[in-house]
Each structure stands twice: as structure tokens, then as C-alpha cells.
């Protein structure tokens, strides 16, 4: 008979579920619309701090925002992270460091500003057949500083693509009359329902942006076959601002004699 006694080795395995951190969020444009297809990079602050010009994708993790502009980084170690977002046409967005804690989820919202335009407008003067006699280039940023040659925004509309003034002085949007178009002021319809013409006058100084949408058949606008002129007014900010212009009137002469005022547009 053979006896057997002793300790049997029983393996004991303990699974320790390591708690990880999670960072998710959304990337939006200046109008708070969600942006899909944005390359989002997560970079740890503790490791090699990212430089301002570090390319996207060089961090500890990288992803692309979904169709709804969402992104998510799972299974992260606790620590401090910087989120960088890049999309063509927008300025690089850098979110300040966020502190990821084990077992916690952080939700961030990262706005991207429109990238400044850098096109150059080249103006060439030539005799028509020979070599150009003079060439000059203007940065778009410089062109924006030009004074408008009018005191009414309607008169400046032909400066925009798709807008011309016909021989009778009427505006033509995308080949149609103003009565076939719509004027929106801060999103509200400001078209005269009787004449179809623009129903409001606005001081030039309150206008922030004027945009002509030449594709009217969109779900956003509708009820128009020409174009949509979208005017946004400028809001005040935390700084006081006083702007006065056009205080000197143009004299009116007739037959060499001063007959009063020809034009006065203080604004």
C-alpha cells in the first residue's frame, strides 16, 4: 500500500480590473454645428509636452470625429491630457489640459474657428496683346479694409459673387429679381410681402456680415427661387465703442452757384 500525503498546489488567480479613464466630446464650428471628419489627437502633458506646431496624430492616441462630430478615447491612464483638433479650412484647435481620473469619464466641447483666408488677388494691367505692364498683388486681409463706396448695404451687394445690377438699376441675384429672393436679418425674414423687395434699411455700421446664398433650394431656407441675402448685425461687447462717420456733406452746385447740399450721410 502506498500512502500519499502532502500539499497540493492550487493555483490562485486574482483578476484585478484596472480602472481606466475616458475622454469623449464633440468638435463644433463657430456656429455650434458639429464637425465630422476632424482629426483629434490626445497628447499627454506628463510625457513630452506637445509643441504648438506638433502635427496631429503624434500624440498618445488619435481618432477622427464621427458623422455627428463626436470623438472618444477609452482605456486611458490617469493623467493630464491636451486635446488637439485639426480640419482643413479651420484653425487648429487646442483644448486646455484636462485631468483624466481613473474610473471617470470626461466630456469636452472643442470649438474650431474659421481659418483666416490666405488667397492673394493678383491684378494685372496690360495693353491687351503684349506683356503685362504692371502687376500687383493684394492679400485678402488687406482687401477687407477697403472702404465701401456706399452708405447702404444694398448698394454694396454687387460686390458679391452672383449679384449684379441691371441697366435699370435693379439688383439681380443669380439671374433673378430681388422679388424672387429673400432678405434675412439675423435669421428673420425681412422681405416686403407686397412688393417682394427688401423691407428694411439698416445703418451700415451695425452690419457685421452680409452673405448671399446662391443656392436657394436648400432645406435651411426654401420658399425662394433666386438667392438668399443673409445679413447679421454686430452685437456689442465688453468694450465701449463710438463710431461716427460721414459728417461732412457734399455741396450741390448748379451753374457754378452753391445751391445747398447734394449728399449728406452722417452715420
Amino acid at each position: 500500500m502506498v500512502g500519499h500525503s502532502g500539499w497540493a498546489a492550487v493555483p490562485l488567480v486574482i483578476h484585478v480590473q484596472a480602472q481606466t479613464a475616458r475622454i469623449s466630446g464633440a468638435v463644433v464650428d463657430p456656429t455650434e454645428h458639429l464637425l465630422p471628419g476632424v482629426e483629434v489627437t490626445l497628447t499627454s502633458v506628463e510625457g513630452d509636452p506637445p509643441t504648438d506646431n506638433a502635427p496631429a496624430g503624434s500624440g498618445v492616441a488619435s481618432t477622427i470625429t464621427s458623422e455627428t462630430g463626436q470623438f472618444e478615447f477609452d482605456a486611458l491612464s490617469a493623467g493630464s491630457y491636451i486635446i488637439i483638433a485639426e480640419l482643413s479650412g479651420y484653425a487648429r484647435g487646442v483644448h486646455p489640459p484636462v485631468q483624466a481620473l481613473e474610473g471617470r469619464s470626461i466630456d469636452v466641447r472643442l470649438p474650431l474657428a474659421q481659418a483666416p483666408l490666405s488667397e492673394v488677388v493678383t491684378v494685372v494691367a496690360s495693353t491687351g496683346a503684349g506683356e503685362p505692364i504692371e502687376t500687383d498683388e493684394f492679400q485678402v486681409e488687406f482687401l477687407r479694409l477697403f472702404q465701401l463706396p456706399t452708405d447702404r448695404f444694398q448698394e454694396a451687394l454687387p460686390l458679391l459673387p452672383g449679384v449684379i445690377r441691371d441697366p435699370r438699376g435693379r439688383l439681380s441675384f443669380n439671374g433673378t429679381r430681388p422679388s424672387q429672393s429673400t432678405l434675412l436679418v439675423n435669421g428673420a425674414n425681412a422681405t416686403d410681402h407686397v412688393t417682394g423687395q427688401f423691407a428694411v434699411e439698416l445703418p451700415l455700421s451695425v452690419i457685421d456680415t452680409v452673405e448671399v446664398h446662391a443656392i436657394p433650394y436648400s432645406a435651411e431656407f426654401g420658399r425662394v427661387s433666386g438667392a438668399v441675402t443673409d445679413v447679421h448685425t454686430a452685437a456689442g461687447d465688453n468694450h465701449w465703442d463710438l463710431d461716427v462717420g460721414g459728417v461732412i456733406p457734399d455741396p450741390h452746385f448748379r451753374g457754378g452757384t452753391l445751391m445747398g447740399i447734394n449728399k449728406a450721410t452722417p452715420r
Binding site: V185, N186, A234, G236, L242
Partner: protein
């Protein structure tokens, strides 16, 4: 003239603008009576913005724009007697 600034720092802002317009356009033709179109108008615009929270801003605007036109559309084929004087606004 435009004045803008804060009603309450970081919370509410206003913008107020006025402009006056007097434009005389003379027709270079030998017309009986008046030979010019005169446009006179006054535009006022007020905007108040209040930040309700981080994602919402309440904006109120008021615009007043009375305009008067004498001999509207006068030209060499339409003398003053055939052109209207209008007084409009909103």
C-alpha cells in the same frame, strides 16, 4: 453714429446706431419743373444681447427706417409730373 458697449460686463450688451441720408440726384436733361430725385431717410437700429448660458444668447433688435422720396425714378423720359413722391418706412 454707432455706440456699443456692455450693459452688464460679460452678461449683457447693447448696440445703438443712427444714420441719416439725404441724396439729391439731378437728371442731366432739359425737363419741365423739377429735375432731380431727392431721397431723405433716417435709420435707427437697436440691438440688445443677453447671455442666458454658455450655449444660448437672447438677442432683441428694433429697427426704424422712415424714408421719403421726391420724384422717384425721374429720368429724361419720366418728368417730375409723371413720377410719384413716396413716404414709406417701417
Amino acid at each position: 453714429m454707432k455706440v456699443s458697449g456692455p450693459l452688464r460686463l460679460g452678461k449683457a450688451w447693447f448696440s445703438q446706431a443712427f444714420s441719416y441720408r439725404f441724396v439729391r440726384s439731378q437728371v442731366k436733361a432739359d425737363l419741365p419743373g423739377e429735375d432731380e430725385e431727392v431721397v431723405e431717410g433716417f435709420d435707427a437700429f437697436t440691438q440688445v444681447d443677453v447671455e442666458l448660458n454658455d450655449h444660448h444668447t437672447l438677442t432683441g433688435t428694433l429697427s426704424v427706417f422712415p424714408t421719403k422720396v421726391d420724384s422717384m425714378g425721374i429720368d429724361s423720359l419720366h418728368p417730375a409730373l409723371a413720377t410719384p413722391d413716396t413716404d414709406s418706412g417701417g
